[in-house]
Amino acid sequence: MGKTLYEKIWNKHVVHEEGDQPSILYIDLHLIHEVTSPQAFEGLRMNNRKVKRPELTVATMDHSIPTTDRTLPFRDEVAKKQVDALAQNCKDFGIPLFDLHSPNQGIVHVIAPELGITQPGMTIVCGDSHTSTHGAFGALAFGIGTSEVEHVLATQTLKQFKAKTLAININGALPRGTTSKDLILSLIGKYGHDFATGYVVEYRGEAIRNLSMEERMTVCNMSIEMGARAGLIQPDEKTFAYLKGKQAVPQGKEWEEALTEWKQFYTDKDANFDLSVEFDASHVTPQVTWGTNPGQVAGITEAVPLLENLPSDQVKPAKKALQYMGLEPGMPITEIEINKVFIGSCTNSRIEDLRKAAKIVNDYKVADHVEALVVPGSQLVKKQAEAEGIHQIFINAGFQWREAGCSMCLGMNEDLVLPEERCASTSNRNFEGRQGRNARTHLVSPEMAAAAAIAGRFVDVREWPARESKEVIVK
């Protein structure tokens, strides 16, 4: 019988297997950041252990750093201490670090693909649940806790139980005006916030093949929001084209060798998944979450659900969510007014995201009562956007144009949604308090966030009258 993509990557990385014990799985790339690593290094020091393969470890600063002027001193003493600890740990253990002043600094899940260190068939881990992003390249990538960060640092392996496999077959074409963010939100809305717990998902089908690499990253990024251990997409010509010429990708003969290797990673025709579901992309509409988990979501032409229309087990959580969100059942989504907009995060802060949002914003102004931020995912994305003049479109409209980082996605720095403020956010989680205490988060695509910034409420981007500007041409 054939093997799935997951099984092929797994088999390629098993160092040791033994009965009912977890397997020892080799890790090809370990990404670290300031928040989930200090205690791991502390553990190494306490036990006199070294980092086994510092050159397979890459560090950046992203979670708790300011996104304002980098030449100014840190205002948050505690965050500064954490960032300094990362720098010291990287120095002591010989780990490459992209610090705040590096041209390659950025959100860990944005910089690894753009450097070319995320490649098909690899195992990639990071002390961050959105590590699933890298699955877009056909790499087995998942989030781990700090004890496991320490384990990988010390051994370059992890002890792992094999996950079950889930195929999500997505056919049909995404309609005009909808995005891969709408696709993944629709999926989570249909199947639920914990549907894929215990599974590694493989996204398959025409709609997935048609997505760009950056769009695929958005889909895989949110795999964790349905509980999946990881999300995978089979590598194809788009994957290889994306990687060619990237900084860390080999050239010449070694490129050919890599390509031959990468082409082995696909699910065999006769492979079996533990579970398969079908999803039709042609019915996807622009999505807006109304609740406090990503599965509590509705289309832009719909309304906040009536409690009596929900399945019985969802009534109580929905009631609690609506109370927190300050929304009434039956309220049309287009009547929800917002006062903050955040375009950023490892879900939607790449150059294509910014281009798409800029197309909507072009020649408009942010509504008077709205504060809007664009936080590029990396310094390279920022530089690219500035080269294209995209930043000027945002700035002219009244958006703040920031330095790269996780920012308002989780509000560990000063970028917060204030109590009872309502934010249209391109990030991945709308949990209670995620963007700030009593903050109300609505997850949307970059286009929907951009349109909401201008209209001051949610609007259907499919009907948005985009304006052409003579000064700046948006690609």
């Binding site: 160092v15 040791h16 009912d20 014990q21 020892i24 080799y26 090809d28 928040v35 502390e42 036990n47 050159e55 397979l56 708790s64 948050d76 505690v78 201490k81 954490q82 490459p96 992209f98 450097l115 070319g116 260190i117 490649q119 690899m122 002390g127 961050d128 649940s129 998942f142 989030g143 781990i144 806790g145 700090t146 004890s147 496991e148 384990h151 010390a154 051994t155 392996t157 002890k159 139980f161 916030h193 914990d194 717990t197 215990g198 509980g227 900084q247 860390a248 290797e261 988990n293 087990d313 109580k316 959580p317 989780l410 509000g411 560990m412 989680r429 949990f431 209670e432 308090g433 205490r437």
Partner: protein, 203 residues
Amino acid sequence: MKSFTRFTGIVAPLDAANVDTDAIIPKQFLKRIERTGFGEFLFYEWRYEDGKEKTDFVLNKEPYRHAPILLARKNFGCGSSREHAPWAIAEYGIRVIIAPSFADIFYNNCFKNGVLPVILPEKDLEFLFEKTSKMPGYQLAIDLEKQRIEDTWGYMAEFEVAPYRKNQLLKGLDEIGSTLQAAEKINSFESTHKIFYKLEVSF
């Protein structure tokens, strides 16, 4: 890490589904570089308002303040991978969480920190929530060795746990130490395993 033996304790009912790790330990407390000091901030936004205890939150009520067993609904521990969540739970004094399902990363993190997540069917949870509401101070005895939960009124349930994970709690294994015993196997694997990226970074 305290090793895990049979014990009896009060059960605190937290009647919420999808309790995420942001709720368990909010982001403003993740800037510490130590493994300790998180217990006092457990469920911070639910426990406190303007620095004062919220009287309606279960852990702020007697007899639940020091309850070592927490009851919750499905998908407990979803969201962020932060191990600060089980650190906060363990430091607060909760040793067992009973729910119909747990998120993967959280579940895995628990066993590394002396916390036992117990998965029981929905109907058992219904029964236990009802018990706790009718009998404040309701207690359960947990026997990890026998993989059994019981009360003194005749309720008994068995639960599944992987033998490896059970051992983690019973013996407090040094996981890294045990993997390092396979160092030769890892080295030999590395000698033939090809990695195709190379990062040139100056220090």
